[in-house]
């Protein structure tokens, strides 16, 4: 079954990312050069990938073309910029928002060929440190602010 990852980012200023960046600086994390945020979706579906990508990127439940930019990747496809990416997702059964979104996509947006869907927040960090320190630094930031261990999990997408 084909699988695709969709990354939705804002083209206008992202207040959440700015607030996160300011908060981290106030907390003493001064090595962050840049912090961006993207909404992450992963779909398993039936049908042709190009057709699916074209159709899903036009669903306004997920993308508003006036303010969003969409990018697709195959799972494990590398990120060329070499930045650290922390993916925060809810742990299983912790929330019903994802299942309710899937139901809306199937029933209201006509995307009945979606078989499985995952959602999350992707934090993209540029860290000014030695390469061997970057990963522990990113984990420290994730633990301090970006996810709550009781109902969320974080993973670093290290695809180079």
């Amino acid at each position: 079954m084909p699988e695709v990852e969709m990354f939705v980012s804002l083209v206008i200023p992202d207040n959440t990312a700015i607030t996160a960046s300011n908060t981290l600086k106030r907390m003493g994390s001064t090595k962050i050069l840049n912090l961006k945020r993207e909404i992450y979706y992963k779909f398993n579906f039936n049908g042709d990938t190009k057709v699916f990508e074209n159709k899903i990127s036009k669903v306004d439940l997920l993308v508003n073309h006036n303010k969003h930019k969409v990018e697709f990747k195959k799972p494990n496809e590398p990120f060329p910029d070499g930045r650290i990416r922390i993916l925060v997702t809810d742990t299983e059964n912790s929330s019903n928002s994802s299942s309710s979104l899937l139901s809306s996509l199937k029933n209201s947006a006509g995307m009945k060929n979606i078989k499985k869907m995952e959602t999350g927040t992707l934090w993209i960090l540029a860290i000014d440190d030695k390469p061997e320190n970057v990963m522990p630094y990113a984990w420290d930031i994730a633990r301090k602010l970006l996810y709550n261990k009781h109902y969320q999990k974080a993973e670093i997408l290290a695809r180079r």
Partner: protein, 346 residues
Amino acid sequence: MAKQNKNKNKKSQAKNKGHEKKSHAQAKHSSSFKSAQSGASSKQPSHTKKQLLQNSPMKQKEVIKAQDNIKNNIKNNLKGSRIRIAVIWFPGTNCEEETARVVEAAGMSAEIIRWNSDTARLRDFDGYVLPGGWSYEDRIRAGVIVAKDPVLDVIKNEADKGKPVLGICNGAQILVEKGMVPATKPDNEIALAPNVNPLVSGYYCSWVYLKVENNKGAFTSLFKPNEVMLVPVAHGEGRFMTSDSEVKEKLRRENLVAFKYCDENGKILEKYPYNPNGSFANIAAVYNAKGNVLAIMPHPERAAWKKQIPGFYGTSKEGDSSSAGRKIFESMKFYIEKMKKEAKNA
């Protein structure tokens, strides 16, 4: 003629000066809770009730009421025993006015304080309330940005000294993210996760029944054991949960759960609509281990007068009488008075 006018001007200037002095004195003595009412009164401080009758009937009532409030506040302040509560306002907080109103109704003095005010001034207060709303638009997670703000360190220090801290809804989310409840370990032991509700995902509001589980803490001492009260809930991230089974056991063993969701008879039913968000063990409010910090998801400040309760059809006078939600604030007052007495005796 010119001389006459000059004299007239002098007289009116003197009169105005008198007004200024009076209103300043009133402002100094009056409660610092800046409601719309007190604002109206400071503009027309020395008008008699007769003069006010010339204004529109609504305004007359408001101004007269505000003047009476100020008089009462001056009386109470002159007694020198007014308990001062800081209602902390963060960017995005929107329940500060009604919270301050209930604090006043419970017999304390409320002051709405901005999050970036002088922290030294903040230490002078006898207690703190973090009201509901959407601080920082709930960015990242509800309450997490404020939890990292230096002002919370000041409040935490004061709580460690025994001062009471009440977090309502978004205030509760802040206290939980800060790790101020249940505070049996240095780490964050519990979380307020997104609601799990069979009808809607995200924000949900309704009226729910709460049962008193612990009436020993600073905010529940005036409740009877197992008392049931009706209060509104309004949140999207209000599900108490923990991934640490030891904490679950500790909450039960140390009796740190202040309120649980229940039915109208006080029966704990772990299903919707009695439990509106899927909280584990139907928890609606949690104390810290000392019992002076309370994180409560429902809004007791919206159930403090009988007229606010659904199904109330009494007279206006009956409607103005106290309802169960106010007891949380009255218990807070009782706790501070007790704390002050003990400090005096010591």
